[in-house]
């Protein structure tokens, strides 16, 4: 059987940081492809960016916790 160890807190932190960064990039990139009805940052974009920031900050806070199981 293949090994399938539980996630560590550091790994969970990295995943959250990655997810937050990707969400932020997609949110900011929406304007580049002409999506949205607002000039600049629309209300949905602002909310998505706030969520992305929270997710990334949460991920960062987990990084120092090392290899303890998440």
């Amino acid at each position: 059987m293949l090994s399938d160890p539980p996630l560590t807190k550091r790994q969970l932190g990295c995943l959250c940081l990655l997810a937050g960064s990707v969400l932020a990039l997609f949110t900011l990139g929406a304007d580049l492809v002409g999506a949205g009805r607002f000039g600049g940052l629309g209300p949905v974009q602002r909310q998505a960016l706030a969520a992305a920031g929270l997710l990334a900050a949460f991920g960062l806070s987990l990084l120092p916790l090392g290899h303890r199981p998440a």
């Binding site: 399938d4 539980p6 996630l7 998440a70």
Partner: protein
């Protein structure tokens, strides 16, 4: 509780000595509430027992009030909450072997926007007793009791503390939100019951970490519960994601395989229904549910939910922070976080307090686990001060449940029993019903006058020529008339560009309906305008605090 694992402890005459530190590998089996209470010094123990008894009495009294409210609704033959009659019609269609997902642009302009499982569960009762609103109300009420029992059992399994498990389950039932929607002919509570069953089942994985998931019946039960919850109401998606997220923490590869299997099963079912309904399933279930979002509405619901469930929420949030940074995330912690985030959907047009019932269940479960474990671990955790800490917790825990029960207080305030109780509790009695939430449409018992008002509306519908255009279906079942239109789905589908009311307006202009019954006027604006132009007021009748406007065709 297994008596062999937890032999009843003799009550000590004197305060016990502080327990010595125990090596981790020789940790004793978790102590139950009786042992923990027995270990407290006598005066503290007396106070703790009294507080636990008081909390149990308060929560059991709310349970009795809940049962009485359900009994009152079972006897009420009309819609108590708008939409109940349409869910009964969905059930009737399923009982006939027909799908309720239809093209709503042709007569009778009807479709359903909810998945079928709750209605299918109610079908046997409709076969046996006919199209009665009490059938689905009974299923929903039973589901709420099942959810509470499963929740309490889950807390007990996680902590071996039967007392706190019981209080956690009762606290869920005492929530204003559970109380309001529990005995309605709505699919929401059945979804919550499946969610709770799934999460409690998946919690077993942590109890047997060395055993392969596929060999654990609880794992399969958990996946089946998730599938059932999703096919009861779409809102269960957050719980599905939480459960898969928890599995991902424990074993990413196995979680991905589990998620793929679950998605395949759900996808096959979805495609099968979509094929059988000619694509109307996707239009009704997915596209018609993408409604406008109001962040202020969501914030108002968050604020109200937190005020009403403050003590449970504070403990659950503290436990979640502990699990994230000091301990290990449990399925209850992940579920609570996901449900809390999912509450944002309460900002959708047409959403309500029911969107927080899952969050309430998750908060009750996580808070119960937190308190029971903290109490059980206190003697070891604080060593020299352990006995004192345990005694303090023995008093603080029931006090907290008592305070939470007070925050959720709701009861009728008139009658030979409720009247004196309400006066004793010092709550206002003028309105006939008190709810700590403030004004609520749901909660007060329907009266004989409400039934008489419903009978009058049904009699007018029965006497009308041809079909009746009614915003509530309950009257039509009593009048023996066909169900025409489903107001709210029609409105949201119109807003989404999925409903063209031209055919409906043509029938209104032709006076094809002998009577129109309006309550909240949740129809597309052009439909309301056509009704105003071609129908005139006949009478107004009040039922359950709502004014029903009845219109007849204008003379040409």
């Amino acid at each position: 509780m297994n008596p062999a694992a937890h032999p009843p402890a003799a009550l000590p005459a004197d305060p016990p000595e502080p327990p010595r530190p125990v090596p981790a590998l020789a940790a004793p089996a978790p102590a139950g509430a009786r042992q923990l209470l027995a270990a407290a010094p006598r005066p503290w123990r007396m106070l703790a027992v009294a507080l636990f008894a008081l909390a149990l009495v308060a929560l059991l009294a709310q349970l009795v009030i809940y049962g009485d409210y359900a009994r009152a609704l079972f006897r009420f033959p009309y819609d108590y909450d708008q939409g109940e009659g349409f869910e009964l019609y969905d059930t009737v269609l399923h009982a006939r072997g027909e799908w309720p997902y239809r093209d709503s642009q042709v007569f009778p302009f009807y479709t359903s926007i909810y998945p079928p499982l709750f209605h299918l569960l109610t079908v046997p009762l409709v076969w046996a007793f006919g199209p009665q609103l009490w059938t689905g109300r009974l299923v929903s009420f039973t589901a709420s009791l099942l959810a509470a029992a499963a929740l309490g059992w889950g807390v007990f399994r996680a902590s071996r503390n039967r007392l706190v498990g019981g209080l956690a389950g009762l606290t869920f039932l005492a929530s204003n939100y559970t109380f309001h929607v529990g005995p309605l002919f709505r699919q929401h509570m059945t979804m919550v019951a499946f969610e709770v069953l799934a999460i409690v089942a998946l919690a077993e994985i942590d109890r047997q970490p060395g055993r392969a998931w596929r060999r654990q019946p609880a794992f399969w039960l958990g996946l089946a519960g998730l599938l059932a919850a999703g096919f009861t109401k779409q809102l269960a998606l957050a719980t599905v994601m939480a459960a898969l997220g928890f599995l991902f923490l424990r074993g990413p590869r196995r979680a991905i395989l589990s998620g793929a299997g679950l998605a395949a099963a759900a996808g096959l079912l979805y495609l099968g229904i979509d094929l059988a309904t000619g694509g109307q399933w996707t239009i009704s279930i997915i596209r018609a549910n993408l409604n406008a979002f109001d962040p202020n509405q969501a914030l108002a619901f968050y604020r109200q939910w937190m005020q009403l469930h403050l003590f449970s929420v504070v403990v659950a949030v503290a436990r979640l922070a502990y699990e994230i940074y000091l301990g290990r995330l449990t399925v209850y912690g992940v579920w609570f976080a996901a449900a809390l985030a999912n509450g944002v959907l309460s900002g959708k047009f047409g959403a309500g307090e029911s969107y927080f019932v899952t969050t309430t269940a998750a908060a009750c479960a996580l808070a119960g686990v937190a308190l029971a474990r903290l109490w059980e671990q206190a003697p070891r955790r604080w060593q020299r001060q352990g006995a004192r800490a345990s005694a303090v917790l023995a008093i603080a825990i029931p006090a907290l449940y008592l305070a939470q029960a007070r925050l959720n207080l709701h009861l009728p305030t008139t009658g030979p029993v409720y009247g004196p109780v309400a006066r004793l509790l010092g709550v206002p009695t003028e309105a006939g019903y008190y709810d700590s939430q403030g004004y609520t449409q749901l909660g007060p018992h329907p009266t004989p006058a409400d039934i008489a008002a419903g009978d009058r509306i049904a009699a007018l519908a029965r006497a009308a020529t041809g079909p009746v255009f009614s915003e509530e279906a309950g009257f039509m079942f009593r009048a023996g008339k066909p169900i025409v239109t489903n107001a709210f789905p029609q409105l949201v589908m119109y807003q989404a560009g999925l409903f063209d009311p031209a055919n409906e307006i043509a029938m209104i202009e032709a006076h094809a309906f002998g009577l129109v019954i309006l309550r909240a006027q949740f129809y597309p604006p052009p439909v309301l305008a056509a009704l105003g132009a071609h129908y005139q007021p006949l009478t107004e009748i009040q039922m359950n605090g709502f004014l029903y406007r009845l219109l007849e065709p204008r003379e040409r």
